[in-house]
């Protein structure tokens, strides 16, 4: 009870600067008698709103949208038409504007669904251009070049909101949205978004469907842009096509990048610096285009994390230089504890899964990586796959985990034919993957990286997460505890809050294992986990693999390190040039004359 109160007062202390900031912003129009200030502050607030949505799309999910301005236009025109021409109230028109903008945003993302990220940039750019000519084309609806005028202010009960009223409305919307986005990026959804951005294949292997995630991000971005447009319409009282030029779309991208992509405060800093500053210093406004271009170029090359990112880096460096002995001590501790303590592997989500491959073939252009492989992997065993470089081992793992689709043959998981299933569906069935080169959320903490493993297991839906309902919080606490336990078992507890990218290579691999175990897998696919490990680390890896099997998980191990294979494997399969050479117990398989020949060449 007292502990709960303790964390609550901690939260209050962290929230204090924000409360002061919001209060100061709210008081701004009362303190300054100048209506221009209120007007500019309202515009800036709307830009922050739209920027925050774009930050979800670009910063967290890695999708460059150049059509954000067009989505704002959609929201503004919808509101304008409904309010000015059809006498709707703002409170009825704004939700419709949001819905229409969500639809437009999702539509914009659709063709880019299966294509790489930069397609989205150009498709959204094209959409922005098409939207502008549509605004002029449908003159009857939109007023053509002259636009819509006479959009009334929102009415709240008996009061019509004035300039200040609209400002406070914008501020309130921003506060609510900020809290929602903050919860979202710190949840399963946020981790899924970052996984799509940093390592799409890894994302699929933990159960995130990248296409759906991108659509979700575009829907979020569309919603905020639509809301921003609705507010802009009642703020200006008129909308014209000239308000929504390409520069307007680029402004939002700039605001996010300069402030700091994937930083919550990024859009706020960016807006203040890049909109408010030139607006106040009128001499600068004329040079805005050149400043935009130069700032984007310089920032992207020298400070891709923006101002918020640079600030964090400076602070981190100051903290590190302040306590040098401590930093040394930490690495020492993690090294010593290693994994001498037996790892407590949680029970898998069900019975161990066996795999059966029937005549599996896969070619890359002229390279035949797999040429008809038949293989049975018994459930509950450690099954090692060895072979020289280029023998098709990794391709085999990719076919089993469905990151690649075979050209021919069938793949069965347990009794189910998964020949046409997707990787993300398999992850939900309890298949986990450890990659050959670590695929991590580099900028996230170790704890968040492990929690990502629970993506397919978490039951709390998006709404419950954002609203922080009790069961959502309970599940989150339980999973966090489990992740911390895994980190502790692997000797990484001390660094749970550090950035994953800062870890040495060996420990990044351990972190991959922790993420895979967090899925509570029924089948674990490991791609050369021993590469680059010290003899000590190797020994604990062997123990770890056995512990995972004993807990009831099938382990498929692709490995070059023959001693490790001999000590942990129940069955060894040897591949050579895409064909199965032999399969059997470690002694039999590794002692086979053909295997010696595969590795060392034919005896003279």
């Amino acid at each position: 009870m007292s502990e709960a109160r303790g964390t609550r007062s901690g939260a209050a202390r962290r929230a204090a600067p924000w409360l002061v900031l919001v209060a100061a912003a709210a008081a701004l129009p009362l303190l300054s008698g100048d209506p221009t200030i209120t007007y500019l502050a309202t515009t800036a607030g709307i830009y922050v709103l739209v920027g925050t949505g774009l930050n979800l799309m670009f910063g967290y999910t890695g999708q460059v949208s150049l059509g954000q301005g067009a989505l704002v236009a959609v929201g503004a025109y919808t509101t304008g038409i409904l309010m000015a021409d059809h006498d709707w109230t703002f409170w009825a028109a704004a939700p419709v504007a949001v819905l229409v903008a969500v639809g437009a945003g999702t539509l914009m993302a659709l063709p880019a669904f299966r294509l790489s990220s930069w397609y989205i940039a150009l498709v959204t750019l094209g959409a922005a251009m098409a939207a502008r000519s549509l605004l002029v084309e449908f003159e009857g609806l939109t007023g053509g070049w002259s636009g819509l005028i006479g959009i009334p202010r929102p009415v709240l009960g008996p009061w019509e909101l004035g300039e200040r009223g609209v400002f406070w409305l914008v501020l309130a919307v921003n506060v609510v949205l900020f809290a929602m986005v903050r919860t979202t990026v710190d949840s399963r959804l946020g981790r899924g978004m970052m996984a799509v951005r940093d390592a799409p294949e890894m994302a699929r292997s933990v159960g995130v469907a990248p296409a759906r995630m991108k659509l979700f991000a575009f829907a979020c971005g569309g919603a905020t842009a639509g809301l921003g447009g609705a507010l802009l319409a009642v703020h200006h009282g008129l909308v014209t096509p000239d308000d929504f030029t390409l520069d307007f779309s680029i402004l939002f991208l700039l605001v996010v990048i300069i402030g700091g992509a994937a930083r919550l405060v990024g859009p706020i800093i960016g807006t203040l610096l890049f909109f408010a500053l030139p607006e106040l210093l009128t001499g600068l406004a004329e040079w805005r285009g050149l400043i935009y271009g130069a700032a984007l170029l310089v920032l992207m090359v020298y400070a891709p994390q923006g101002i918020a990112g640079e600030w964090e880096r400076l602070r981190a460096r100051r903290r590190a230089s302040g306590t040098p002995s401590d930093a040394y001590g930490t690495s020492d501790v993690s090294d010593a504890s290693g994994t001498d303590v037996p790892v407590e592997v949680g029970p898998p989500r069900g019975e161990p899964l066996g795999v059966e491959l029937v005549g599996v073939r896969k070619s890359f252009g002229g390279v035949h990586a797999l040429q008809g492989v038949d293989l049975t992997i018994e459930p509950g065993t450690v099954h090692a796959i060895v072979g020289p470089n280029g023998s098709g081992k990794t391709t085999l793992l990719n076919v089993i985990s469905r990151l690649l689709r075979q050209d021919g043959g069938r793949v069965l998981l347990g009794t189910e034919d998964v020949s046409r299933a997707t990787a993300e569906r398999l992850a939900r069935h309890g298949v986990a993957r450890v990659f050959q080169t670590p695929r991590l959320l580099g900028a996230s903490s170790l704890r968040d990286n492990v929690l990502l493993g629970a993506y397919a297991r978490e039951r709390t839906g998006g709404t419950a997460t954002v609203l922080r309902l009790p069961w959502a919080r309970r599940e989150r606490a339980e999973l966090t505890e489990e992740a911390d336990r895994l980190l502790a078992d692997l000797g990484l507890a001390e660094r749970a809050d550090e950035e994953a990218a800062a870890l040495p290579h060996g420990e990044q691999r351990l972190l991959e294992v922790a993420r895979a175990l967090m899925t509570r897998p029924r089948l674990l696919l490991m791609d050369e986990p021993a590469a680059g490990l010290t003899p000590r680390e190797l020994e604990s890896l062997g123990r770890l693999i056995r512990a995972i099997r004993d807990a009831g998980t099938t382990v498929v191990l692709v490995e070059h390190h023959i001693e490790l294979v001999a000590s942990v494997a129940d069955v060894v399969t040897v591949l050579d040039r895409g064909r199965l050479v032999t399969s059997g117990s470690p002694q039999d398989a590794l002692g086979d004359a053909r295997v010696v020949e595969v590795y060392l060449g034919a005896p003279a």
Partner: protein
């Protein structure tokens, strides 16, 4: 009327195809799609329309324009492409930097030249005078543009089979692997940017008499060139030229059957539709993903 649509479609489609071929040349060694391509072409057209270069004999003028735009493109490679690729921290960093370079070019052009569109006369003996042969109306300059576009693609095909082309393919497939074979990816990247820049300059020179040369013409060419690139399939020069023609015809048909203002909407909708059905473009040379 059908013949008019086809002529206009082929002529403008050739321009869009040339823009897309320019994308391809720069994409080969870097995997970058240059968002400044449209503005580079605009610079080429404006050099012909608004500077003394335009007064020189056509051949010399075209060569000068190509040289200037090639140098500008090389500058882009230096400041906006290589630095981000070296860091490669952000997978889409180059989208932002090439876009930023494009903004800078547009802004600089806006300050140097007026935004009044100006007409440029085609070189002697070609002209824009409309001839009628068997009921089809076209001008000699329009024929020349289509012929030059085909010639450029044919020339690049020859280049592609040469030693240089092979080296470029090697760099595209595996930059580090190519380096081990004694290929210098940085030098190849510079050469590709010079070549792509020269082509952008040529496209601008060709476009100037057809479109009105103006400082705002770049964005439209960028997007239409991209549509041709996406529909034709990236890396496939013949494919993008054909795609350019297809889109040009669709655009011209849209102008006749819908309204001239809806051209860009029709074009964009057509591109989306084709991409939804064939995500890898019309010829569908799929790129194999690997883990």
């Amino acid at each position: 009327m059908i013949a008019d649509i086809l002529v206009a479609g082929l002529v403008f489609g050739s321009l869009y195809g040339l823009v897309a071929v320019g994308f391809n040349i720069l994409h080969r060694p870097t995997n970058v799609v240059n968002f400044a391509q449209g503005e580079l072409i605009m610079i080429g057209a404006m050099l012909m329309a608004a500077t003394p270069i335009g007064g020189l004999p056509w051949g010399i003028a075209a060569a000068c324009v190509m040289a200037v735009v090639a140098i500008v493109t090389l500058a882009e490679e230096r400041v906006a492409v290589t630095p981000v690729l070296r860091r490669s921290s952000h997978a889409v960093g180059w989208v932002i930097t090439t876009l930023a370079f494009s903004l800078l070019l547009a802004e600089a052009a806006g300050r140097l030249w007026t935004d009044q569109p100006s007409t440029v006369a085609p070189p002697w003996p070609l002209s824009m005078r409309v001839e009628e042969v068997l009921g089809v109306r076209f001008s000699s300059y329009q024929v020349a543009v289509v012929v030059i576009a085909v010639a450029v693609v044919a020339l690049l095909d020859v280049l592609d089979r040469s030693r240089l082309g092979t080296a470029l393919r090697a760099v595209a497939a595996d930059r580090d692997g190519a380096r081990l074979r004694g290929i210098d990816p940085a030098a190849l990247t510079r050469r590709s940017f010079l070549l792509g820049g020269a082509l952008a300059g040529l496209t601008g020179v060709l476009a100037a008499p057809l479109l009105l040369a103006s400082v705002t013409m770049g964005l439209g060419l960028l997007i239409k060139g991209f549509a041709a690139l996406a529909v034709g399939g990236i890396g496939d020069n013949r494919g993008v030229l054909v795609a350019g023609w297809v889109l040009g015809v669709i655009e011209a048909a849209g102008a006749v059957f819908a309204s001239p203002g809806s051209q860009s909407v029709v074009l964009f909708a057509a591109m989306l539709l084709i991409l939804l059905i064939r995500p890898n473009g019309l010829r569908g040379l799929a790129v194999q993903r690997h883990v």
